[in-house]
Symmetry: C2
Subunit: 182 residues, 2 copies
């Protein structure tokens, strides 16, 4: 017989979280979700709203950004972090997509990136804009893919820029590991 009022079942707190429903519906017994499970989970959660669901490629990027244990999958805590970050990006994207067309212009991506505090040259901004757009427009999926990469690469750079002078040195293997993972 269980003793009501004493403690909580394992995962009890998580189970009260509305997000846990989306997560547990796809997570295997190991409590982790892979890129394709994340794609299905985010699609069902409706986080993309009226925007197209996330591509598998973007879901893989999301996992690389948050996957601290290099398992190539996310636990529930990491999934919750991701959810929060995605909602912030969605609000930013929506604030530029004023006509609700589902896409923003290249110039608007540049403003959004600058508004997030990234200090980049016009040339770099231009390259990013071209890289993530199709026929000059950027979808929400492209935008999130851009934000994920920018955040993860900046984070990796800063870890190596120990003197905080905007310069970092990489060994070849380390460079490939950091940049291929994203």
């Amino acid at each position: 017989m269980a003793f009501p009022g004493y403690g909580a079942a394992p995962g009890g707190v998580a189970q009260q979280d509305p997000l846990y429903g989306y997560f547990s519906a796809v997570a295997g017994q190991d409590g982790q979700i892979s890129a394709d499970e994340l794609q299905s989970c985010l699609t069902h959660s409706g986080i993309s709203g009226s925007y197209k669901p996330f591509s598998l490629e973007t879901c893989r990027l999301m996992i690389s950004m948050l996957d601290r244990d290099m398992s190539n999958s996310l636990g529930f805590a990491e999934f919750k972090d991701l959810w929060q970050v995605l909602n912030g990006w969605k609000m930013t994207f929506a604030s530029y997509d004023r006509d609700r067309s589902g896409t923003v212009e290249g110039q608007e991506l540049q403003h959004a990136v600058a508004s997030m505090g990234y200090n980049l040259s016009p040339q770099t901004m231009n390259i990013i804009m071209k890289r993530f757009s199709s026929l000059g427009r950027i979808t929400f999926d492209d935008f999130v893919s851009c934000c994920v990469k920018l955040r993860a690469l900046t984070d990796q750079f800063q870890r190596r820029d120990t003197t905080r002078n905007g310069n970092a040195s990489f060994q070849y293997d380390d460079f490939i590991q950091v940049t291929m993972a994203i």
Copy 2:
């Protein structure tokens, strides 16, 4: 009246090239193809053979790898270079996909990468393998995406490793430019 036998029409040499048919069918008047045109062009050319056609994301990567003038599109000369490189990768992939399932295993990707001369640690190999596989298998599209990134990033690294000691230094803006472009 034209003088037969004197010179060639502009683009005459290219027009005799069987590849030019695939290229010109999608290239605009500027003689350049964008990522979505490249996707259509490669699909029609049948280069993927029995493999799934390339994703738009992989086509974007191919363009970043070869796009020397930062136009985000390819001219015919760059397209021919790409064609040659892709055929090499297809042969490599096919040599590992012995059962013609259309996918190879993670371990086989590692062997393929090593056979191309990349000297990477087991940890980096493992990260690459996980990043480019779905449920432990790698499609031809994933494989090409991996090869494109590895080649372009190694090339960028080597340009900055001026003393050839396997170490390169990056300013933040340069690091983001190089890594976000790929």
